[in-house]
């Protein structure tokens, strides 16, 4: 059976290699206001006294790195990619979407104002993370049997 829309098997390793630096960079950006100065881009327009008109690309790099790496890890082929693996994949995807929105619903009810913005940032990546955790766990369980 042919599986469309999947990356080759070795992309998973590439994904992990991009994931950890992006994660560290992303967390540093969010919680320690870390910026690479060489990623400053001058937009050439000084809006006002407090806005210099430069844009720093550190957080953009971190976010895109996280998205690409998580996609690679989530959607690269298994060594033997057969129909049973496809079913596990789909089930895990459904599980991840349900769980993600359950968690988000709770957060909508419990977290307010600026803290909610942080939640939304984490939410950009949580579906893929939940999917990866569930999918790998299911494969691990199958391998034990």
């Amino acid at each position: 059976m042919k599986n469309k829309f999947l990356f080759p098997h070795h992309y998973r390793r590439i994904g992990w290699m991009i994931f950890f630096p992006s994660l560290v960079l992303g967390l540093a950006c969010m919680h320690a206001d870390f910026r690479f100065n060489f990623l400053d881009i001058d937009l050439g327009i000084q809006k006002n006294l407090f806005d210099s008109g430069t844009l720093n690309f550190t957080d953009e790099i971190a976010s895109i790195g996280l998205i690409i790496s998580l996609l690679f890890i989530a959607f690269s082929k298994e060594k033997i990619e057969d129909e049973f693996i496809s079913r596990l994949r789909l089930e895990s995807l459904q599980f991840a979407v349900y769980l993600n929105y359950m968690i988000l619903t709770l957060q909508i009810l419990l977290v307010h104002s600026t803290a909610f913005l942080d939640i939304m940032v984490y939410n950009m990546f949580s579906v893929l993370l939940l999917f990866i955790i569930r999918f790998r766990a299911m494969i691990h369980i199958q391998n034990q049997a």
């Binding site: 059976m1 298994e78 060594k79 033997i80 057969d82 129909e83 049973f84 693996i85 079913r87 494969i139 199958q142 391998n143 049997a145």
Partner: protein, 66 residues
């Protein structure tokens, strides 16, 4: 749906891994089919039957609750 893969394997004296390799799936897939946790596609069922030189009905049978 029940199946007789375990019996067929015993007759041919092959392991789950041997069967898996012969029809191009993982050993785990054969394991879940054999223990009736996973219902294979028609293509896979036909491949298994072909491997044992028999018909699909010899290997897979419906149960009352199907």
């Amino acid at each position: 749906m029940k199946n007789t893969i375990k019996v067929q394997r015993a007759i041919k004296n092959i392991t789950q891994a041997d069967l898996a390799e012969a029809i191009g799936v993982s050993r785990q897939t054969i394991n879940t089919i054999e223990s009736a946790k996973y219902v294979p596609s028609t293509v896979l069922a036909l491949k298994i039957a072909q491997y044992f030189h028999t018909s699909v009905e010899e290997i897979f049978q419906l149960e009352l609750d199907d």
